[in-house]
Each structure stands twice: as C-alpha cells, then as structure tokens.
Symmetry: C2
Subunit: 76 residues, 2 copies
C-alpha cells in the first residue's frame, strides 16, 4: 500500500527533496514524498486481504487527517 500526503497539505519532506534536487541542478516543479508499505498477510480472498489492509491503514499505517492511501493486492 502507498500512503501519500493529501492534496493541499504541506509536505515538508517533499519541499526538502525539491530543494536538494534544485541545488544539484535538476529542475523540479513539484515533489511529494509518501511511504510504501509492503505487507505479506494470509487472507482467504483478495477482498478479505483488502479489507484487512484498509483496517490496518485506518488504525496504524496512515494518518487519515493528512494522508490518503492506495491499496494494491497481489495474490501469491
């Protein structure tokens, strides 16, 4: 799953990355930094896996006030 700052929310990490890249001579008009969390879980189905990860996001992995998240399920 991917967690990223919501539109319109200040992203200090992104600003720092943008500043550092410009300092190195790269032109960057915008930079946002988020997290990638790769989880291996046991679930009976894809929809069950998605439901579980949604619950994990709400409870721990994302801050719903300032972050959005996107879940991708890859069966093994």
């Amino acid at each position: 799953m991917l967690v990223s700052p919501k539109e319109g929310i200040l992203d200090p990490q992104g600003s720092a990355v943008r500043g550092a890249l410009e300092h190195l001579g790269f032109g960057v008009s915008n930079a946002r930094v988020g997290r990638l969390v790769d989880l291996e879980i046991d679930a009976g189905s894809e929809s069950e896996a998605r439901r579980l990860v949604e619950e994990m996001c709400e409870k721990l992995l994302a801050n719903p006030l300032i972050e959005g998240y996107e879940i991708e399920v890859a069966p093994e």
Copy 2:
C-alpha cells in the same frame, strides 16, 4: 518513483510496523517499508524523463548500497 530496501537487507522500519500490527492483533508474516517520491519535471520525452529521474536516484533519492528503486513515468 519507489525506493525500497533490497532483499536481504535489514529493514528496522518494516520490523517496527510488523510488530505494531501484531500488537493490534493483525497477523503479518512480513513487512517492508520504502518511500514513494512523486516528482513533476519538464522533459522532452518519456525516455529523457526516465534518464533524469535515474540520475536523481543515483545522486540523492536512493542509497544504492542498500536500496533499490523503480521508476514509473506518467506523461501529462
């Protein structure tokens, strides 16, 4: 672009996430944490954009000793 710890490299952030999720009652057999960096840049073509981001990764965004990266280009 996505930066994630290479296979076989210890991932303390991932271990912390796994521990916290188990503490909440979720069964997780593995967790890895990486970064998502979303960049807006001007480039003449997709291959030029990819080349630029590759250079940014090598110079700043990833630590090639312990991290791998994956670049996805989305033209606007």
